[in-house]
Symmetry: C2
Subunit: 110 residues, 2 copies
DNA sequence: TATAAGCGCAATGATCTGGTTGCGCAACTA
DNA sequence: TAGTTGCGCAACCAGATCATTGCGCTTATA
């Protein structure tokens, strides 16, 4: 079945998020990754397939080994989606800032 | 079945992401939300249940209507996870910046 | 008070998901 | 060349997801 891959669906799985974190530090092979989890290499391979399909990760051949490395640019897409929301919480933070400043002022005037 | 709710799993669904975007602008009732999608009110209600369980959304009663509003603070948790990755792409951007500066310098020296 | 409107919940069903096992193939190694 | 080692792929299976439908409860309206 040709399932459409999607970044948000990809990072929904905790194991895949962990893989992304590990790979962010250094490109790794499926076997090396599997050692960090309580699952088989094949399971990790399936996760890597999902991550590769949505281009969050890129395989790099080296003999019979395959080093998977992070495609950091793709991660930015998540950030892009978050952008408008970020504005909201920054605004709220600013409002809180104002409240705190007002309280402090009132305290000084006592 | 008591499924553990998780923010990343919550935003994996495109309809739920759309709900978050709509609600960010203004608190809305399930019926009002359902009008924006090609699904039933019950389906929207189920999505709202998921979003409420992981506290991305909060119900506000008003007579027989329920206005759901965004819990912006929870959205920030996604941003927090993204934080270390952001460093990476900012670094890469800085490196690109350096490259561009160098190129410009060389051009000026011609 | 009778009727309609707004919801949530439960049951059902099709489709996805994530894990396992068993291959087979290519690439190192003795 | 014979035997490992590292991988991906296919088949299979239990459990999760998402949408639909049918209810029943509460609140507004005539």
């Amino acid at each position: 079945m040709e399932t459409r891959r999607d970044i948000f669906q990809a990072i929904a799985d905790p194991t895949r998020r962990a893989i992304l974190v590990l790979i962010a530090l250094q490109a790794m092979t499926p076997n090396a990754l599997a050692e960090h989890f309580h699952t088989s290499r094949q399971a990790v391979s399936k996760h890597l397939k999902v991550l590769t399909e949505c281009e969050l990760v890129k395989p790099e051949l080296s003999g019979r080994e395959i080093y998977y490395q992070l495609e950091i640019g793709k991660m930015k897409e998540i950030d892009t989606w978050l952008e408008p929301f970020r504005k909201l919480w920054e605004d709220r933070f600013n409002q809180l800032d104002i409240v705190l400043a007002t309280l402090k002022k009132q305290q000084n005037e006592k």
